[in-house]
Amino acid sequence: MSKARSAPVRAAFIHLALIAYTLVALFPVFLTLVNSFKSRSAIFSQPMALPTPSTFSLIGYQTVLSQGNFVGYFQNSLIVTVASIALVLLFGAMAAFALSEYRFRGNTLMGLYLALGIMIPIRLGTVAILQGMVAAGLVNTLTSLILVYTAQGLPLAIFILSEFMRTVSDDLKSAGRIDGLSEYAIFFRLVLPLVRPAMATVAVFTMIPIWNDLWFPLILAPGEGTKTVTLGAQMFIGQFVTNWNAVLSALSLAILPVMVLYVIFSRQLIRGITSGAVK
């Protein structure tokens, strides 16, 4: 494919630039992790130092694991995040396909309507959402969170996906139609695999605010059985006392699952592109 004939000097410069930025990106994260393994006084007296035998402390992790059911919180966060992403991707791709593929009356209006949601923070609808969930008997269930996050993620997903779907070759679809494929088959079998990179991108964008959201878990599902990790970690931020050890530990732990999800999706992104189905 590529001729791999980049001059070594240029390659060195590129690596230098990338390494520099990687350091900028990772240094604060590194600090977070390092400090989560230190005692409180060491966090503040030598924030940069690596934990030494005298400052090493697992007190944060111990507090986190002994206070509340963090394994359960992780499970809740995962269920909510994964289910919401799945629904956003499926519903979003379907709607985006309809908008980008077919000409029908009200297409633009529908597109605009579905894009309205990216312009107002959904948080403003809190009271009405909560009342709706009470009426539906969904308070303190993960379902309520999944519904809210699905609704919240859809506008952006549709916006991005329809943009990408417009770049899918018309010839391919016409060929499919000539072969007698139904519209559903064209969508699921031809188009969906082609927009996989875009789907992976949307998945990553959808995932972050959901995983890190504090507000809706607090309002809709604050019960012990439905708490999410972010809400659980918030327990250690008090009015006058903040248990930084515990907060840093809980949040360091909370990074791991998102990292894993991210790696899965970004693999998809690359594989989708390099599988060569398009070209």
Binding site: R40, S41, F44, S45, Q67, I79, V82, A83, I85, A86, L87, L89, L90, T126, V127, L130, Q131, M133, V134, G137, L138, V139, N140, T141, L142, T143, I146, F188, L192, P193, R196, M199, L214, W215, L218, I219, P222, G223, G225, T226, Q234, M235, F236, I237, G238, Q239, F240, V241, T242, W244, Q268
Partner: protein, 422 residues
């Protein structure tokens, strides 16, 4: 990809009802939920207070459900409006809880057994303006003052300052010695500047309740000398704060002091318990210094926390039982000793074990008490006087605003909505 999608969808349809079932089955015994912003107190409630209550009241289970204090007001309001709030609501003082009562969200508690254990002053933060109805059981007040590092004072050979001149002399000494940061306070979070600064030292200038009531009556203005002078004193603190105090946060200040790097900490009594747990040196406390030796001293002794009844709660009877227990001397004793620095408002005196807490509370004997000036009546409009004072106090200490400008700005904001009753 679609296969993954399908299996995920399937998984959620199976799991979601499981969540429903789990939450549906917990209504046999009366379970009370307490909404609170006191994350800090979680262990105290779980280990001491709730077991003590449950032992005496079989059939009632209590859950303490605290959340981050910054989210508390908005979250509880949303839950109250939608009817999903817990049975017991921890009450912020004065106008916020009053608004909840006026909306019918908090129930009146005049006939609650035990409410008579509190004096009118104790109940003042949770009573209607006409003084007729009380809607929260008072739990605790907090006192302002200064906590100091005894070792630092011994090192520098200084005594507790009684007057303002002595106070600044002590600060000057620490600054010259250079071993300790004289004052541990920052302006980044703004509220410290007002709460531990202006509200702390101010009562000595505006003469406590006299000034506060005159302000409400419209007889005094925030631009009067008594109200401007504390800003002038605050402005003089600037050279004694740590380097880069403009970006120093509240936890920074706490850590500076408890790590032994600062000499004096402008404080509220709520710091006692965490400081005791974190500092490895002896601490003492002194009230805000007066202007001249022999002046009457005033302290801010602010009703801070109460607990009320969700009028639309499901277990009203059980909740009332709990509330009258909160009003009992037994609870007062438990809470005051478990959370030293939160002083009981119960008329029955509480014996406190903690020496530093005793020190704070002993000032009540010689000094006149008052509450924060922005809390009651003048604090219920827009712009909110309390938040305005946070902002300008920080500005004054940062030196970006003169005391006169700060005072004029707050008075202007107050004038825009507040008309004193004639």
């Amino acid at each position: 990809m679609t296969r993954i999608l399908k299996s995920i969808l399937f998984a959620t349809t199976v799991l979601a009802p499981a969540g429903l079932v789990a939450t549906g089955a917990s209504a046999q015994t009366a379970t009370l939920t307490i909404e609170s912003w006191r994350n800090d107190d979680l262990p105290i409630w779980q280990q001491k207070i709730i077991p003590a209550f449950e032992a005496k009241n079989p059939g009632i289970k209590v859950t303490f459900a605290p959340m981050a204090p910054t989210e508390y007001n908005s979250a509880v309001n949303a839950k109250l409006e939608a009817g999903t709030a817990g049975d017991l609501i921890t009450c912020r003082p004065f106008d916020l809880s009053l608004a909840m009562f006026q909306k019918g969200q908090l129930a009146p508690l005049n006939d609650l057994p035990g409410i008579s254990n509190f004096s009118d002053v104790g109940k003042s933060a949770w009573t209607t303006d006409d003084g007729k109805t009380t809607f929260c059981v008072p739990m605790a007040s907090v006192i302002h003052g200064f906590i100091y590092n005894k070792k630092a004072f011994a090192d520098a050979g200084v005594q507790i300052p009684k007057t303002e001149d002595e106070f600044f002399a002590v600060l000057e000494k620490f600054k010259k010695d250079g071993k300790y940061i004289p004052l541990a306070m920052g302006t980044k979070d703004q509220w410290e500047s007002a709460t531990m600064g202006y509200y702390n030292i101010g009562p000595n200038y505006w003469k406590g309740e006299d000034g506060r009531k005159a302000l409400i009556a419209g007889k005094e203005k925030l631009t009067d000398a008594d109200w401007v002078e504390p800003y002038k004193t605050l402005a003089k603190w600037k050279p004694y704060l740590g380097d880069g105090f403009e970006a120093q946060t509240y936890p920074d200040s706490q850590n500076l002091f408890t790590l032994g790097r600062a000499a004096i900490y402008p404080a509220g009594s709520w710091e006692i318990a965490p400081f005791k747990a974190q500092a490895d040196f002896e601490m003492g406390a002194f009230p805000p210094p007066v202007k001249k030796a022999g002046d009457t001293c005033y302290i801010s002794d602010h009703n801070d926390i109460g607990i009320g009844l969700n009028a639309k709660g499901k277990n009203l009877e059980a909740a009332k039982k709990f509330l009258s227990w909160v009003a009992s001397p037994e609870f007062a004793d438990l809470y005051a000793n478990a959370a030293p620095g939160f002083f009981s408002l119960n008329s029955t005196p509480v014996k406190m074990q903690d020496a530093l807490a005793q020190e704070f509370v002993s000032w009540r004997q010689n000094c006149k008490q008052t509450i924060r000036p922005s809390a009651a009546i003048v604090g219920r409009g827009q712009p909110n006087l309390d938040l305005e004072m946070w902002r300008v106090s920080a500005n004054v200490i940062n030196g970006t605003q003169t005391p006169e400008q700060a005072a004029a700005e707050t008075q202007k904001g107050l004038d825009s909505w507040y008309k004193p009753a004639k």
